[in-house]
Point group: C2
Chain length 684, copies 2
């Protein structure tokens, strides 16, 4: 037992998989057991198991440590945080260089450690960080300011860049530039902006092109441009379908939806458990390492107990591992396990019928499903797409083998096609994305005709899954209590009015306000925006004016910059001749403003006044107190607002509606019933 056949047959073909295997499976296997064909004794099995365990334990532990101690936001796939960022929520540290490094290094370590993870999600996050960095021309981590791109130093501009970066990430990951654009739109867009969309499209096209160019050059085919995407599904030459198959696809969509819902349910419970008991960093690292060991153990045990041996030579398997099979045969499970997950997905799609037995596929699916579920949410950088696709491809192929028995001799039965449908439906059942996912899969298969079955499968999987719970990304977003706004206003909310939704009483400033009151308010209140009102009575420190006439809105950071530059006067009269503040003063400070505590204001200065009128936004949006929740919701979504002032019939400020106020209302929909509930949102 334990002898390894390095059955390299066709050196030229599929160099990609080979190279990747060389780089990380080989060290784990061959280096510890240099090709020995001598059958060895049982005691060798320990080392067979232990040595690789070291190889998986070390990288994963390092990766988890990096994530847990340096950049917790780099954990997981990154898609949920990008989603929040594009939705308009400020998640701290999402687009920082530190996060990028931890994410990029972390995902390499996770993959090297043999976890059930993909590298596509992190790719998208990395793309977003790079884009954000480029747009700013400065890095806080490196304390470097290139003094370029001043004009992009605004939340809005930066968000546009992040959209483009995420799209470029998708384009590179799946070779799907159009899918990338649609991903950005689906996750981030509210207002369809022609120019922006075109720029994003160009960006993702260039990204796909560059990856293709580099990969082609790497594989010694420079200029051939045939390596699109980190994962592509290979060429489905003869993939066609007929009407008969559509019911089968609907059935598979249903199964995918069920498995997806189960996956999400288990992962939800697990994440709640983690949030409650595993919040200490060293515990997180320990869990990650444990999972890595477990993954290796399960893999070896599975191979050890499997008797699915296939004859060598008839198969396109690149790295045939003999294990305990007879000479001239290789372990089918070993072949699928000792590949990158990407290569395994491709094998399941394209290997000829009979490459695996039903039992080995069943066992593989069961354990891989559980491992993937356990892995997602660990404190490591890890993508969700590939493990889900792999698990789905496994049961899809099982269905394919069953269909071969049932409809013997029919043209259309082909296990590879069923594997593809299974993979799509499983992925759809877990993430519940629709438009972009369809296009990504169409582009990854490179076949437009097959778009309709994929679409139907994804739709059915989403419907079935939605009956039980939400998509996994949404579950994670919700567990992190981020006030994400959905696409549509919650149903049943037509009779909820602004006056009920708004936060009140609201702290307002007068057009000419005492410095002391501003400092006090900023210190005591966490709000980010303050309405400026006309007030007839003189400003005094203690009155909490709520019913002044609305004149404009000023933001927290604008006030802080004003205070920093001491743009105030001894008297309330207006003499600002020599206190000029340019737009660049504001932009210089972006994106990290000091807290109010760091701004030193002398007691004497506190008696001075600021005229806020030149700095406030005089034409910000305001709604009447009679506006309904859906109407406010649409304004927020369409214009990407963070807050809107509520005025009464006399145009006096009576409240303010923030994202949190809106995100609080949430429709629950459970087994066909539906209702509206108010959630507690904890984010400060």
């Amino acid at each position: 037992m334990g002898s390894i056949l390095s059955a390299a047959e066709d050196e030229e073909q599929e160099v990609l998989i080979r190279k990747e295997l060389d780089s990380y499976v080989q060290p784990a296997i061959s280096s510890s057991f240099p090709c020995d064909n001598v059958s060895e004794e049982e005691n060798n099995l320990d080392s067979l198991f232990l040595a690789p365990s070291c190889f998986v334990f070390v990288p994963v532990a390092i990766g988890a440590t990096l994530v847990a101690y340096l950049a917790p936001v780099a954990a997981g796939s990154g898609i949920p945080v990008i989603k929040c960022y594009l939705n308009g929520v400020k998640v701290p540290e999402v687009v920082r260089v530190k996060t990028f490094i931890v994410k990029a290094v972390g995902v390499v370590l996770s993959v090297v450690g043999g976890l059930a993870v993909g590298k596509e999600g992190p790719m998208i996050h990395c793309g977003a960080v790079i884009a954000a960095g480029i747009s700013q021309g400065k890095s806080t981590t490196f304390r470097k300011d290139l003094k370029i791109f001043y004009r992009f130093r605004e939340d809005h501009e930066k968000r546009d860049f992040v959209s483009a970066g995420a799209a470029a990430g998708v384009a590179a990951a799946f070779g799907a530039p159009v899918g990338g654009v649609l991903f950005s739109l689906e996750e981030g867009a509210s207002f369809w902006n022609q120019t922006l969309t075109w720029s994003i499209f160009f960006c993702s096209m260039i990204s796909a092109f560059t990856l293709n160019l580099v990969l082609s050059a790497y594989h010694n085919h420079p200029g051939q441009l045939s390596y699109s995407g980190l994962i592509n599904f290979g060429k489905f030459d003869n993939i066609s379908y007929s009407f008969v198959e559509l019911p089968v696809y609907v059935l598979m969509g249903t199964i995918g939806g069920l498995f997806g819902a189960l996956f999400n349910y288990l992962n939800h419970k697990l994440t709640v458990f983690r949030l409650r008991y595993l919040y200490l960093k060293w515990l997180q690292v320990t869990e990650a390492s444990l999972v890595a060991m477990m993954t290796a153990t399960v893999g070896f045990t599975m191979i050890y107990f499997s008797w699915d041996c296939q004859v060598l030579g008839s198969d396109p398997v690149e790295y045939a591992l003999q294990f305990h099979c007879e000479d001239g045969k290789y372990s089918a499970l070993g072949a699928i396990w000792f590949q990158t997950p990407e290569a395994s997905v491709k094998s399941l799609f394209h290997d000829p019928p009979g490459s695996w037995t039903l039992t080995s596929l069943g066992i593989f699916f069961l354990f891989y499903f559980l491992l993937a579920c356990w892995t997602y949410g660990l404190s490591v950088s890890s993508g969700l797409f590939i493990p889900t696709l792999l698990a789905g491809a496994a049961w899809g192929r099982i269905m394919g083998i069953c269909a071969e028995w049932l409809f013997n001799g029919q043209d259309w039965v082909c296990p590879g096609k069923f594997a593809l449908i299974g993979a799509a439906s499983m992925l759809g059942g877990v993430v519940r994305m629709t438009i972009s996912l369809t296009v990504i899969l169409i582009e990854a298969t490179g076949n437009i005709t097959f778009g309709l079955p994929l679409m139907i499968v994804l739709m059915v999987a989403k419907w079935v899954g939605d009956y039980f719970n939400e998509g996994l990304y949404d579950i994670h977003v919700q567990l992190s209590s981020v006030p994400l706004l959905a696409w549509e206003p919650p149903p049943l909310s037509n009779n909820i009015y602004a006056s009920e939704v708004m936060s009140h009483p609201v702290t307002t400033f007068c057009t000419v306000e005492k410095v002391g009151r501003i400092v006090e308010t900023l210190t005591s209140e966490p709000h980010n925006g303050f309405p400026v009102v006309d007030s007839d009575e003189p400003a005094s420190l203690s009155t909490n004016r709520t019913f002044g006439r609305f004149r404009g809105l000023i933001l927290r950071w604008q006030l802080i910059v004003l205070l920093q530059h001491k743009v105030f006067n001894e008297t309330a009269e207006r003499q600002w001749a020599n206190k000029k503040l340019t737009l660049n003063d504001f932009r210089d400070a972006y994106p990290r403003y000091p807290p109010i505590q760091r701004v030193h204001i002398s007691p004497q200065e506190k008696e001075f006044s600021i005229d806020l009128r030149p700095f406030m936004n005089p034409s910000t949006y305001a709604v009447s107190h009679t506006a309904s929740l859906p109407r406010i919701f649409r304004l927020f979504r369409a214009l990407g607002l963070r807050h809107i002032v509520v005025v009464n019939d006399q145009h006096e400020v009576i409240g303010i509606v923030t994202r949190k106020d809106l995100a609080r209302y949430r429709t629950w929909q459970h087994r066909g019933k539906m209702g509206l509930e108010e959630l507690n949102i904890y984010v400060g």
Copy 2:
């Protein structure tokens, strides 16, 4: 001379082109000259020319008559009017059944008449009409009300359906479901609506699928699904590119942009001429018939004087016509002329090098370009895509032949590829669409890798073209004086404020208003929306209140329905117990309300009052008089508004901004200079 070889060589292959040829070229040729191999005398040339002239004259004259007398809105490609409709402008009769019939019959007649037109644009318009019809469940033309889909009888809902229909049209025309979605988004969307987009996507996927199914069954390959799109560009098996080629593509993009600008310039002048002198219907029919004759004449003359004879048999030409060539040879120009334009495009893309001489391609391009330019804007149903692609493919192929001389022996030089690039750049130079066009072309070629060159070419063509004039669709929209809103607010407009843009004084109604005043106002003023204000002084017939406090907005048709149902009281007090008006009363009337003159109000009733409060929209958007033009613009675009009320600091109505007020500001950009101008918009 004039003998015809019906050289049918390969019966199985390309049945599509054959069938279409059978149906309309054959009648024009073979039926009048049953295959006679005997060389005849010169006098036969008259009949050779005259007989086909009849065959082209009659259908085009019928088509033009239908369009001119029945549905003038069905003229042209239909894309500009759909664009206006989706932009929120009400163009009369765009989505009526009558228009659909004229459009569909008209395009068949135009194509049969041999005009330089395509059927893709009309296809999109037809899709839109069908969608609008389905959504309403009733037809005014047929006086039939199915009493279903009540809830879709709103402008907004109907527009969503039209989006989906247009997308389905694109999907069917080009076999490009994703391109269809993006077309709808590019032309119509303002707010990105997840559910709507997904529905549109599904719709266009089903549309592409159905077309494929029907075409496959028609061609005796049921279930094979290999006929995607009315036009597809055929299989480019070996289409790859290298870095070296990119500059060539940029050059070709430039040329395409120049040709496109020239095309648009000529067509612009022609359209202005037509608007000025050819507004009589019979003149329009005459012009269309003249163009048809001219097209036939030019075609025959070209073939007659061309000596480009190719050897039979070596070529994939389906219908080889001998004309004056020696036996065993066929006329290259005849082959390209006696095909559907779609088939000609495909020939230029795929026929082997040497199928045409430089001279014949050059002559063909010159005349086809001029004919296409003359044809577009005629009073016939005609698409623009195919003629533009064909002209572009011709000069692209010329470039390809030149490149073969220049870079002799290089792998990448292939005339077919150059024809594709030429076609794309020409189309881009004329229509100036970006995102959707790129995706449509990617889907039509079925090759994602080649997306980047296409994108670059389209981008360069657009840039170059935009330097000279606008896209052809925009030119036609502008000439029809429709207040279309662009994507972005005009630059240089930041210092234009609501108070300058708005129309004022504005006619307002009181919350409780005299019936007489409403009737009078509706009769004398054409406006569609009226602000409702609180007013302390008693309502009197003569005062033109402008400065009441803003309470809500009521629309013209709502007022008419109220008057029709006589929802008013003798006194101003509120006693509406027995005057219930349901939403269905409003929906029943949709979409055509009687003019105010048809509503009979007795002099006595004019003294009654209506309480508008239960019917007005109380939470409509209003902007402050200090709001800038770009801010108002964005509100209009993002929320699809038709008018917005301007209020002063006291929340009193001081004006109203309509689409027309915004569309009036237009940036002109001419040879690098830029400015802002106010246009006159004539639409009532």
